[in-house]
Symmetry: C2
């Protein structure tokens, strides 16, 4: 047998099994051969087959169980990786000039509403910001943000005049967990800066961020509904 070195063996095994699943030859519930059987089929070590199957399981195409073996899972059509791009990158990718202005900036002891927004156990000093993002000087997105000064004390000295809070925070809080909430709202007086007719439907994206279990920030981004949409793709062969 001629070994094709261009594509690793474990990938070829994975692809072969994936093809059988995607084509419907192995419908959901089908029990796939054991690692030992596949190793014999492809004349390779069990570890190599294991890598292929572990990969497929990570991508949700199969489910692995001891003793009973691996079976093809039912598809979860409704799951998708959502990429909410960085505002500046998003605007510039669309070929527009990005601009940003800060509207308000206040430091206060967290109110009860602030505690709920940040999911704080007890009040701490917070920085409340609101900003406007523009594409070609056209209002594009309204941002309403709360930053916990307990988690990010250095925010107290940041002016956010030249850099948006989001971009600044990425540099200060390297990695974190986040929760997103996407909903639809109606434009009202609080969104006057977006220059929309009252009642215009808007997309609202809320993001809560933690660093090591500590609440960091809560942001609410409002986009005019006709000017923005979120797009997500899901392809089994490309998921990873």
């Amino acid at each position: 047998m001629v070994t094709q070195r261009a594509i690793p063996l474990h990938r070829r095994i994975r692809a072969a099994i994936e093809a059988k699943i995607l084509s419907g030859e192995w419908p959901p519930g089908t029990r796939i051969p054991t690692e030992a059987e596949l190793a014999a089929t492809y004349d390779c070590a069990r570890m190599t087959v294991n890598k292929a199957l572990t990969d497929l399981a990570a991508d949700g195409l199969i489910e692995r169980r001891r003793k009973s073996g691996s079976v093809v899972k039912r598809p979860v059509l409704q799951s998708a990786v959502l990429d909410i791009h960085d505002l500046k990158a998003e605007v510039e990718a669309a070929g527009f000039t990005y601009r940003y202005t800060i509207a308000t900036r206040k430091i206060r002891q967290a109110t009860r509403a602030d505690c709920e927004r940040l999911q704080l156990a007890k009040p701490v000093p917070v920085l409340a910001l609101s900003c406007l993002h523009l594409a070609d000087d056209r209002p594009f997105c309204w941002e309403d943000r709360l930053i916990s000064l307990a988690a990010v004390p250095q925010a107290q000295d940041a002016t956010f005049i030249h850099q948006s809070p989001g971009a600044w925070l990425i540099g200060e809080v390297p990695w974190s967990a986040a929760e997103h909430r996407i909903s639809a709202v109606s434009a009202d007086a609080s969104l006057a800066a977006l220059e929309l007719a009252p009642g215009t439907p808007c997309l609202a994206i809320e993001r809560r961020t933690w660093d090591a279990e500590q609440p960091v920030t809560h942001v609410r981004l409002i986009y005019p509904g006709d000017a923005h949409a979120l797009v997500a793709r899901f392809a089994p062969s490309k998921a990873g």
Copy 2:
């Protein structure tokens, strides 16, 4: 050293490195030790370290390059796994009774608009459906769907009286690629079944599905904005 068999070694190695990244001890750009160094540190085989690092790379926490080694990546805060649950499961999980009714069902040659919705190269026969999903007999979601009869000819004989098109399709087209688009719209006459005041903001989720490069279906789901939101979580340690 006492081996803790409860947690596999490669997971413990992964967790140790992840902790250094998440804590900020290893900020983005930091070059992490080579596989050989880590294998010596943890007194194990290089393969074990390799599994830990491959894992971290798959989750996007590090980037691996030959010769130059592995480095901590910049975080992508705005990426999240979005789970758009099955409508029936979603309603029942919330403790309501799920009900479904079909409003219209028509077979026609694809119009130009249909071709655009399904991204068809040339017109084929299609099945156009509209349905209402109810939670505790309260209108919950309006569905507007197009199914390509070229891809799913057996849809011609399905009545969709007892089973919603989405549930039926999952059984007929086992696995597929999908594209989602989420936006905000205003309630209008076409959504009369949702019994909303005109202008009520609604969340619109569009999903296009392919099976082996062939367009299968396009669906538009409309939810009242105040009654529904999409939630996604992103936690580096849990991402898979």
